[in-house]
Amino acid sequence: METSIDNNLITRSENILERVITSAKIRDAVKGIKRIKRSHRQIRAENVFRKTIVIVALLMVVLVLGIMLTLVLQSILSIKTTGLAYLWGKTWDPVQDIFGAYPFLLGTLLTSFLALFISIPFSFAVAIFLGEYYPKGWLPNLLKNTVELIAAVPSVIYGFWGLAVLVPIVRSLETKINVAPIGLGIFTSSLILAVMIIPYAASLGQSMIKMVPANLKEAAYSLGATRWEVIRSVILPYTKSGLFAGVLLSLGRALGETMAVTMVIGNTSLIPKSIFAPGNTMASVIANEFTEADHPVYLSALIELGLVLFLVTVVINMIGKRLTKKFTN
């Protein structure tokens, strides 16, 4: 009795198998014909598409190289006139054709690093808050969108806000600590910059912190670590190069920021005597004086300033990219 059932089963399953095979064969054959018909058209479209993509991609490279080349070519006159002394010359006097970029180099580095120093606690706090403490929910979403919005606000608006709000505040602060109450200057610019660059370190840091493997955090928790101890001993060491890369991206942004800084820095070509003194950054000088450059050497000197700024930001960005890559691998 049992064997007959088994035999029955076997023949039935063989039948089913055969049917499956035949239908599969037919389906394959039909598909094959269709595929051949389609493929000619596809290959042509594919070639056109690929060429377009390559051309567009190359165009980008050419564009950036072109910008750099323009900067170099237009700077030649100034480089010939002033030479390397351009970088450490302390006087910038266009009327007498004396071009020393040192005050602006100093102004750029001072505002940028001061801004970085002010912004780091905030951007790291945001990164840890969003990456570890509250990755989900309405509050973190609100915070995340707000921080992203900070990066989207046009910088001229920050300039206005700086003039209207920060300058009076800084001025009263300066009165209290007995320095010339100008309000405009390096410190005010750094405050504005600090706000503007928070999103860069915060969003990169946040995504790096989210990438810390859960099993490492659990290992620390299982050993009796508190949340703060997990952050300090597991998350921060694990993400340090990523966090550093975020800081470098912020720095790159701060170095090149023009509009907001130009509006609140005070615009003088003198070497700033303290962080409360007015000054200029490389970007703000270019923005301010470009329309006034009435003779070729002056114009060329301003363009050389752009070249220096370009090189500094390129180097900073490259280091940042490399560190990010090293970290994600």
């Binding site: 989900k136 493997p213 099993n215 490492l216 659990e218 290992a219 620390a220 928790y221 299982s222 050993l223 009796g224 670590a225 508190t226 101890e229 997990v230 001993s233 597991v234 060491p237 694990y238």
Partner: protein, 252 residues
């Protein structure tokens, strides 16, 4: 000394509205190896993570009931103290990749900000690594990174890290599921040694492993503790039909 070290009373665990551990009552004898087995999703890992309050680290996870450690309810204690007394080893070996082998073993002390003299640290490291039969293999490379070891060695390093804190209970969450057969048997042999000093609760997907290493076995199914008995009794003469079906491989 009382013979029961861990006792769960009407323990329930939830993920949001999802009731994953249902009314579990169990007594774990001191210095024994208890295996917790059951099909995937039966709540065995969640129960294990409930014992040292790791369960509630997951957002939305809650628990009800009591878990007594030496008669004291861990649900009333601060989770940090619970985890110092109840160590844990995870499914995948997870040594801290940025720390050396030496620092991995004493990571618990470092994390908790406990400063020890060098001689004492050396002693803890040697003792802990010896307890997991790793000392002879790594004593010349203590300064190398933990991730430099093989998978099985990494898992033993993680056990050493838990042992170094001198806990009373060690929880193992499928400790050998990511290891090759040879490393698996090394770790299994360790269980016999470790139970002299600690109480071991081992979640396993592997019935043979439960039969090999444990004194008592608990069988979880759909969040319930179906049966809990001496391992021998359980595998030869289970009382519940569901246990019987599971052991005979009717479902898994």
């Amino acid at each position: 000394m009382e013979s029961t070290i861990v006792k769960a009373i009407d323990y329930n665990a939830y993920f949001g509205d999802n009731h994953v551990v249902k009314n579990v009552n169990i007594e774990i004898p001191r210095n024994s190896v208890v295996a917790v087995m059951g099909p995937s999703g039966c709540g065995k890992t969640t129960f294990l993570r409930g014992i040292n309050r790791m369960h509630e680290l997951i957002p939305g996870a809650t628990a009800k009931g009591k878990i007594l450690l030496n008669g004291e309810d861990v649900m009333e204690m601060h989770p940090i103290f619970v985890r110092l007394k109840i160590g844990m080893v995870f499914q995948r070996p997870n040594p801290f990749p940025n720390l050396s082998i030496y620092d991995n073993v004493i990571a618990g002390y470092k994390l908790n900000g406990i400063k020890l003299p060098k001689a004492e640290k050396d002693k803890i490291v040697e003792l802990s690594l010896s307890r997991v039969a790793l000392w002879n293999e790594v004593k010349d490379s203590l300064t190398k990174k933990g991730s430099f070891l093989s998978g099985g060695q990494q898992q033993r390093l993680c056990i050493a890290r838990a042992v170094a804190m001198e806990p009373e209970v060690l929880l193992f969450d499928e400790p050998t599921s990511a290891l090759d057969p040879i490393s698996t048997s090394t770790v299994e042999e360790l269980f016999h040694e470790l139970k002299k000093n600690y109480t071991l609760i081992i979640v396993t997907h592997n019935m043979q492993q439960a039969a090999r290493v444990s004194d008592k076995t608990a069988f979880f199914y759909l969040g319930e503790l179906v049966e809990y008995d001496e391992t021998k009794q359980m595998f030869t003469n289970p009382t519940d039909i569901r246990t019987q079906n599971y052991i005979t491989g009717r479902f898994s």
